[in-house]
Amino acid sequence: MKLFLKIWRQKDAGTRGAMVDYTLDGVESDMSFLEMLDILNEELISKGEEPVEFDHDCREGICGTCSLMINGRPHGPDSRITVCQLHMRSFSDGDEIVIEPWRATAFPVIKDLIVDRSAFDRIQQAGGYISVNTSGRPVDANAIPIQKEKADKSFNAATCIGCGACVAACKNASAMLFTSAKVSQFALLPQGRVEAAERVENMVRQMDLEGFGNCTNTGACEVECPKGISLENIARLNREYLTASVKG
């Protein structure tokens, strides 16, 4: 198939970017979206032009590195997958495809389609852990039975890959779905209850400091999340936060 691509090109953080048009022929439906970009880049390199830089690594939907806004949707038109799992069979001959980076104040563009998501790391550093020593000798793993339902919910929250699609999808660029997934993972487990109040307060504070917007419960994040992280987690975060502030 033949495609008409409009791709955001930006030299570096300090330079203004712009959309640039490319026409690409010979795309097959079995190719992944990123393989299509590989082919475009091979063509650009052979012409002596700079290839389009984009973040990607595992190419199997788990590392959360890839982060493209395709035709206005984070990770493209298909649901419950990352860009690297998107295949060209989702497109047709002659399609125009608009490819942009995540747009959010807290995710500044580094180059072309690559953004800086270190704000997510700092939110986690603010409290996304249980304060136990790794070199200690904890109790036996089966000493505390955990209700399967709760363990499963905790796991579901923990499957967040930290890609930032939730932020990109949100009109306010809010990071509530991301932060709430981490808060929930620990809040649902007995090991995590000990520091629950402090954790939610610290993580929310850092989230606000990073310049993410507020949550207005539109649910766009849940729709676009490649891992199906549920809005229920945001409700849980709010509950945890309220309880912590009242007690505090």
Binding site: D12, E28, D30, M31, S32, L34, E35, D38, I39, E42, L44, I45, S46, G48, E49, E50, P51, H56, D57, C58, R59, E60, G61, I62, C63, T65, I81, Q85, H87, I110, K111, D116, R117, S118, D121, Q124, Q125, G127, G128, Y129, I130, S131, T134, S135, G136, P138, V139, A141, I144, P145, K148, A151, D152, F155, A158, T159, G162, L189, Q191, G192
Partner: protein, 687 residues
Amino acid sequence: MKKIVSEIAVKSPVKTKKKTSNPLVSNVPEGPLKDKWTKHKNDIDLVNPANKRNIDVIVIGTGLAGGSSAATLAELGYNVKTFCYQDSPRRAHSIAAQGGVNAAKNYQGDGDSVYRLFYDTIKGGDYRSREANVYRLAEVSTNIIDQCVSQGVPFAREYGGLLDNRSFGGVLVSRTFYAKGQTGQQLLLGAYAAMNRQIQRGKIKSYTRHEMLDIVIVDGKARGIIARNLVTGEIERHSAHAVVLGTGGYGNLFFLSTYCMGANVTAAWKAHKRGAHFANPCYTQIHPTCIPVSGDHQSKLTLMSESLRNDGRIWVPAKKEDAIAIREGRLKPTELKEEDRDYYLERRYPAFGNLVPRDVASRAAKERCDAGYGVNKTGEAVYLDFDAAIMRYGREKALTSGMKNPDDDTVRQLGEKVVEAKYGNLFQMYEKIVDQNPYKTPMMIYPAVHYTMGGLWVDYNLMTTIPGCYAAGEANFSDHGANRLGASALMQGLADGYFVLPYTIGDYLSGDIRTGEISIDSPEFDEAEKMVRERIEKLMSGRGIHSVDYYHKKLGKIMWNKCGMARNEDGLLEAMKEIAELREDFWENVKIPGTADSKNQELEKAGRVADFLELGELFAMDALHRNESCGGHFREEYQTPEGEALRDDENYKYVAAWEYAGKPSDAKLHKEDLVYENIELKTRSYK
């Protein structure tokens, strides 16, 4: 060792100093096997907490081994700097490990023990690993689970609230702990969380989007690194009292693999060129259950977890005409009667069936496809079928739900739900890639490069032959011999990082309590930085004919065809020659657009491929010198009449550790004899 490559003239891209050879001293403690680790911990020197504050450690790589080492070292009091090329430590490729992590907990009461895990691992590795290391691995495995649960890793649980287990290949017990098909993700996020705690405390400084481009040796000791900031292109110097490499394996040598795109050998290879011996490079794991290659555009292969072999049955048509009909689209696999299917693993290996180890399963798939029974367009695929499991689970679910006589459709629906709960994410991945529904038609799978057992040679303390340079996890060679069992990579990464290296490194660092901060303004740092800069300049000044991927793909083809699942002398000799020629071509003709003083992904790739082009030749030479078949190393000349691997313990029961000597084909071989005091060497059989 035969003279094999004298006719090949290779222009070495980098000049190196001549080094003296290092003797291989394994430092395995004396005493009975089961007491060695405890005794060793009691005997080695420690560093007191006040002195730890004056000692710096650099950790390269933030996967399970690197991340867990960094967190634990920081927690013990050392000042840690971590480096990863990804934009966050959480994205290291350990995150993609699917199936599980082994531990000898014996929660299932099925006869598991530390000894059995040890024995299975040695046997699974085809008797090519070091006894004492493997025993220690099995011993600390139980701590891993306790540790991870206390950190909030949400492992799968049973309805009673206790942890669930499943089975993996090459063992007869259920000792694998898991979190659906995302075990690696959950364990890595645990290590990342532990790192975050230390970053917040100021004990770890995390450098992301940074790549180590050389290791700096001062007075014979590893004292720092040269790194490139991948965003700005700046070349940076970082010093420390010790350097830990948790940089993973080198399977991307094959271009197509289940590794992430950025996985590389650069850090390990730079250490090799500075004096760290590279052990058993030819031991590569080719995983039997991956989604087959679909075309030339393909950039990577996707694994379907080995855990699927708990429930999936592997087969090809029993008649060649049926295989042809399927390939041509005239016949559907679901239309084939039971008696027309060849469940070849169950047929050849009745005791282990579909759960034979990976090397055995991969070769068996290749054998059937080579014989003309492959089932996709390329003829390189076999079926992994869940129909029997779906019906079995469905009937069980119907019974426990109180249904007396459910019809087949109801049973199937119930069964599909059970299978979805177990493997849902894997089935979804498959469907997205192949565009077929694996609940309704069998999956197609074929072997792909997945893991490398070889790596930097380390002693019992995980120290390489460079004093102060350590290697942990997949980056070292130590625990898996010639073949790794499923769910053992996560176990080893975390064992090394949480429980072994943080203690053994103290023995070395106890000599550094009065050293003080290592200066970065020394001739050694000057020289290393100069070399890094010159190399980048050289890469950027290629004549500009072919892209980096052009060379990487060519290298991959040579490796897969001549150093893959089956190897022979002629092929390996050709591979060495072709790789050396390709390397020369690369340095003359590679084309890298853009500049070196900014973000430049082509330059990043070029540096990595340049190192693969050296390692590839050493890999082939190692495979050529090992005149036997063992584990993942299968030499066609050495096989039993039934086509099984034929080991030669008399001549090859050793670790081949290669010392760098100017160019790959000049590498000097050192042997560490493997001594088995507790296990009797047998022919590995899974029949």
